[in-house]
Symmetry: C2
Subunit: 267 residues, 2 copies
């Protein structure tokens, strides 16, 4: 599983505070802890104010990379902010989070991706809005893959997010997402699927458990990347267990390593 650590996000209070006070240590520490916990990318989101976003996103990238080698996931729909961040990003190419089939977003972000080794999260969203069914997701996915591949972006750099909607709104939304994951992974080998889980539990009690169980189910249907909090012990314990049971952990080595590191016992 390819993990994107979600904690450096301006919508979280400690991060908003760190952005306001230019608290390098707070940000660097979040990058370090998430890397240690297994994050393959560190998501950086500076969406506090549109006018300062470019400056702040660049500062976040510099601050993260002052402490760790982990590439960033540049979490913005704003091409100016992404370009400012790309100008300072070093090492392994980062991930752009995210493009979609919405025309304005597509036209602004595609030129940044062309001819690069950037990874990109592609949301299954079009100008017609959020998809409801599995078929609608696969139709948008097809448009995204054809467009991105047509622009020379290799399939293995594309991370499709089928987008999950709350099951409290419609009981079929979880299943539609899971079927879309399986459909995408079967139909376009090489492409990745990615998702943040938390939307699925909106409006329901005990949301953390719902998100964890849904992650296991999505992994079981083929999801191979996730945007999550790698410091959450229960999420990570569920993940390492599910990967072992899905046959992706030779000799149960990572499971046993997590056990020896004390990560599997109840907090």
């Amino acid at each position: 599983m390819i993990l994107v650590g979600e904690l450096i996000n301006a919508s979280r209070k400690p991060v908003a505070e760190a952005l306001k006070t230019t608290d390098r240590e707070a940000v660097a520490q979040l990058a370090q802890e998430q890397t240690k916990a297994g994050a393959d990318f560190i998501d950086v989101n500076a969406g506090l104010s549109e006018e300062r976003e470019a400056e702040l996103l660049r500062w976040l990238v510099e601050t993260v990379q002052s402490r760790v080698e982990t590439p960033c996931s540049l979490d913005s729909p704003n091409p100016k902010a992404i370009e400012a961040a790309l100008a300072v990003h070093r090492g392994t190419p980062p991930m752009i989070n995210s493009i979609s089939l919405e025309k304005e977003r597509w036209d602004r972000l595609l030129p940044i991706l062309q001819g690069t080794a950037l990874k990109v999260v592609a949301l299954c969203m079009s100008d017609e809005g959020m998809p409801e069914t599995c078929d609608q997701r696969l139709t948008i996915a097809e448009g995204l893959i054809e467009g991105l591949a047509g622009a020379g972006i290799p399939l293995e750099n594309i991370f499709l997010d089928p987008l999950v909607q709350p099951v409290s709104t419609n009981t079929s939304y979880g299943r539609a997402f899971l079927e879309a994951v399986e459909g995408i992974m079967t139909r376009w080998p090489g492409v990745h699927t990615i998702c943040g889980m938390s939307n699925v539990s909106f409006g329901l009690p005990e949301r953390k458990r719902i998100n964890e169980v849904f992650l296991v189910m999505a992994l079981c249907r083929g999801l191979d990347a996730a945007i999550l909090n790698p410091l959450d012990r229960r999420t990570m314990a569920g993940l390492v267990t599910a990967e072992m049971l899905a046959g992706r952990d030779d000799f149960c080595a990572r499971y046993l390593e997590a056990y020896r590191a004390g990560l599997l016992s109840e907090p």
Copy 2:
């Protein structure tokens, strides 16, 4: 999900004790608690001594049915014990646990099933031993279904158990089981799949978590029945959550009911 409560089993110390001392109250209470927690069948196993098994299994059925209306799952390969138990079982037809494609077992149990409304657990096991791969499981499943259907047993009374082996022995065993569940449910609509989970975690630490995660994964691939401890809060919380996410809980009604009953909070 069709749930078979596993607690009245002579291999468990309190039950062995109750069988020795003819403690009706202990057995009746286990039946009542499991029924209250959602068991659709109460498994009864009296495999202490072969010579007394018929007498003890009959006593277990009588004792369970003195307290609850829930049908039993008669857990024995011994036709004499099963016939003794059937002679006293009242109400909804019970489940026989279990037949297999092993010739001796098949020949002894099939006559009991023919012409009845009994449910039957059919283990994917033959005289060649435990299957290793998904394909081996599907081949045995085909033999079981052809044989049982040929003897007039309706598909909806057949509960195929693909049998899971420990992933600590071979990393592919979890995946082989999951693929067999999906293969059976796709190929023979109407047939049920059932399993006890605990074998998958044999030889590994933190077994309860492994069993729970595996149950969610199996449900996600189509498993529609399970032999488990319905009094285990974490198992049941995972189950109700996964069923909701799989789209099997209209309006999230059972999830919300479990929440209001306090079953979803951490113990």
